[in-house]
């Protein structure tokens, strides 16, 4: 096997040096009755060439969004990832390093993490950010736990327009803890009413912006209400590109921002791996979950970086840790950092502007179609259509035409009365011809 260097002869020699007669002697601690003698019932080893063919065959059974007009969003967005980002993450020294436990020979990873933390803090308008969580939903759940720790309260209010999967994950994460989630119902029109619920027992309110249906709102008033009640405002952002055009959650008064960073640098990859963002105020940093990278100096006085404040973490604090997270989204956060570095202030703003422009133009064209109505008053690059037919059926028919037309709301909210609602995202990757194809297909179908 190409990945293992020993020859049969070498193995014999090495066993000799160890002082055992056969390889079986190395496995004597395994209870005899459980030992496997034959091989597992699986195929034998395969050549690289054959493995590659297998995966090409599997890939051939999918419709690639690269070759189809793609309007899918609902928390994951197709964006152009600059080739430099993918090149950098394939550098051996980034790709095949572990967590930077030995800072003297891990400054590459560490400095990049420090830059990531800074970028996340800047775009969210927060003071500090950690070195990543698994994804947006887990970051949301961890934010709620953190808010409960900070406030020493036990109840979180989840907006009805929070991405349903984020709600699911938060509920799942909280279910066996002492904390509890109050889940509001989705609101299609008008503002949600939080006021009634924000009492002295509330640790935080979790609200998504743009929300699940694509709407954007100024959360300043909500933040004030939260703070007045001693609660924190947790803002979820799952399309981070929106932050290039919008006021930051920090500006609106957020205390914690839980984000999905996939849009910047990370390929769609059927849902993972992505990169969870978690940012907050400096004063809450010791309640933060996850790794943190900090600046320091070395013995010669040179600036350098280390993992720090690890007394919050499981490997030091064990059952008293702020979270059990260990491995996080390392390489995805690097891809994020590289892409964001390429964009810069100017590029990030422009990317957002393009996304908004394309989406507004597409929304106008779609809204003009018969049987199609844009229900959003506001949006960034994604909006919700009310169709004259079942959205799932329409999506299937579009797929038959090689178009990925959107995400039926009912796929994520199966028990709400939303069968005709379709989420449509329009990013910089949608060409004019893609939109034309969608429109003419919809004309045929509806």
């Amino acid at each position: 096997m190409r990945y293992m260097p020993h020859t049969a002869e070498e193995r014999v020699k090495m066993l000799g040096e160890i002082g055992v007669g056969s390889v079986d002697d190395l496995f004597v601690d395994i209870p005899a009755e459980a030992r496997l003698n034959g091989l597992l019932d699986l195929p034998l080893h395969a050549s690289e060439m054959d493995v590659e063919k297998n995966f090409r065959t599997l890939a051939g059974k999918n419709l690639s969004p690269y070759s189809a007009p793609c309007f899918l969003g609902a928390g994951a967005y197709q964006h152009h990832v600059p080739s430099v980002a993918d090149h950098v993450i394939q550098r051996s020294e980034f790709l095949t390093a572990y967590t930077p436990y030995q800072p003297e020979i891990s400054q590459g990873t560490l400095q990049a993490l420090f830059e990531f933390q800074t970028q996340v803090a800047l775009i969210t308008g927060m003071e500090v950010a950690n070195a990543s969580m698994y994804d947006g939903a887990t970051s949301c759940a961890e934010s709620v736990l953190m808010a409960c720790r900070v406030t020493r309260r036990k109840k979180a209010i989840l907006s009805g327009n929070l991405h349903p999967h984020y709600r699911d994950v938060t509920r799942t994460t909280l279910q066996f803890t002492e904390f509890e989630a109050m889940e509001l119902s989705p609101v299609l029109e008008g503002p949600e009413d939080f006021e009634a619920h924000i009492g002295k027992d509330i640790a935080c309110v979790v609200v998504q912006n743009p929300d699940f249906f694509g709407r954007v709102q100024d959360l300043t008033a909500l933040a004030e209400k939260c703070h007045a009640a001693g609660a924190l405002l947790v803002v979820v952002v799952n399309e981070v590109v929106s932050l290039g055009a919008m006021m930051s959650p920090g500006e609106m008064g957020a205390d914690i921002v839980a984000g999905e960073g996939q849009s910047i640098g990370v390929p769609l990859s059927f849902g993972g791996p992505y990169v969870g963002l978690l940012a907050t105020r400096q004063k809450y940093v010791r309640q933060m979950p996850g790794r943190l990278c900090g600046e320091t100096v070395d013995q010669d006085g040179k600036r350098g970086f280390v993992l720090t404040l690890s007394t919050r973490e499981q490997h030091i604090r064990r059952e008293k840790a702020t979270s059990n997270i260990c491995t996080n989204a390392g390489l995805c956060s690097l891809a994020f950092t590289v892409h964001m570095s390429l964009l810069g202030e100017t590029g990030f703003a422009k990317l957002a502007e393009i996304n908004h422009g394309e989406a507004v133009a597409a929304a106008e064209l779609l809204d003009a179609l018969e049987g199609v109505e844009v229900i959003n008053d506001t949006f960034f690059n994604e909006f919700t259509l009310r169709l004259s037919a079942n959205a799932s059926d329409v999506v299937e028919k579009l797929a038959d035409k090689g178009i990925l037309g959107g995400v039926p709301v009912a796929r994520l909210l199966p028990n709400a009365d939303v069968d005709n609602l379709l989420l449509v995202a329009v990013t910089e990757t949608c060409a004019a011809s893609d939109i034309e194809k969608l429109i003419s297909a919809l004309k045929e179908i509806l």
Binding site: L40, N62, Y134, V216, G272, G344, L351
Partner: protein, 523 residues
Amino acid sequence: MLNNQGRPTRPNTTEQDNSATDTFTGNKALDLETPLIFEQGVPGRLGVDMAEPKQVKSRLGNTARNKPIGLPDLSEPQVLRHFVRLSRQNYSIDSGFYPLGSCTMKHNPRINEKVARLAGLGDLHPMQPVSTVQGALELIDDLAHWLKTITGMPAVAMSPAAGAHGELCGVMAIRAAHEAKGEARKRILVPESAHGTNPATAALCGYKVESVPAREDGRMDMEAFAEKLGPDVAGVMLTNPNTCGLFETDVKKIADMVHEVGAYFYCDGANLNAILGRVRPGDLGVDAMHINLHKTFSTPHGGGGPGSGPVVLSEALAAFAPIPFVTHGENGFDFVEHVEGEASKSFGRMKTYHGQMGMFIRALAYMQSHGADGLRQIAEDAVLNANYIRVGLNDMLHSPFDGICMHEALFDDSSLKDTGVTTLDLAKAMIDEGYHPMTMYFPLVVHGAMLIEPTESESRETLDQFIGAMRHLLNKAHNGEDAYFAQAPLFAPRRRLDETGAARNPILRWIPEEDSQTLSAAS
């Protein structure tokens, strides 16, 4: 692995005259410095070209941004060079031997990177209609089959994002199973030697963690265990092979005892590499075990992640598995995405989407490459290599536990006693020799622990050179050259860093000169 037990975290600053070897730029030939990206921008520079935005009437309502963010503007070549320079300051498996115990730093094949990027795989959207992702679902189903076959378990939950997340999945399933039976158990037993994620996970599931001590031979103390076990115990979390690199010889008995009191057996599968194809956890009575695809199945660690931690489950726990999962429907593969129907007992959802697909692809490519024969060989060579290192060093370094080890060799620092050299010092001197140090100060049950996991990827020459270098350093230590160790590393991009200072006055982000005072005041 990192721990601060007995580990000095603030270097002694040495006075040195570097002027003869200093350069104007601070670079030293190929050791190239790069400032923070924030220190390199000039407003108006462009790293990404884009078409001009459409001029439209804004639909942002009153949320439009009206302040700058503060990101630096750079050109593409600047950004590329910055990150290439940074990368060159890292050690990696590709550059050398990385025997970081408990982390299974094995070869990361490049074909896996290639297939993960194929059009039709790497670019799939998670919410595509299932009719358009049949190949993706088949792939997940294939991988599940391999994992179940390898572990001898009937079910697997694919969505956990890493080992700790897998633990959470397993312990949640355990708690859900108890609750389904109307039982409210309170305690989880965890051996002292366990990884920190184990107790942290149990706590997250509302359990009280009770620590079980180790026996003289490095295995769990069965008497203490029996004592702590009882009807209010929900489960045990046992790592096997354990974090001392030893197989828990009483594992079957443990399983039986656990089941007897109606509890479940969670196995931390971080060390699965050692037993691939030699024994199936399912045959040992395990109820749930996470598999670190980023260890055993070589998906790259990427400087800390992403990982993937599927959890195999016994019949008893299978029904409680999290959504979503793949099923075989009438029109091919299908997805169960909600807690209803088939999934009505599911304890819920753990991730935004379906799991770490990018890691699934790599892991499956890795498994296919090895096949049943190669997988078994992995375990054999991993254990062979660890024992080869063990016997190569155990006349100079003390093994706290006798006999054959599994995939990693554990030493303590007793042989360094009176040398003035610590485990940490030794590790830093190893850096100068061109190695990534072993795991230090973990597991906690051993003083000044050094946990060396060579993996099956390493050649005998590499092991021999490593053993030689270690012996050389140990000789130095015994020859009173502690000053040599105190100053190490000498050749790395940075000398020892002030970790105490970093924690005492945390600087967690870059701040523009003008603002730095404001923010540090706020903190």
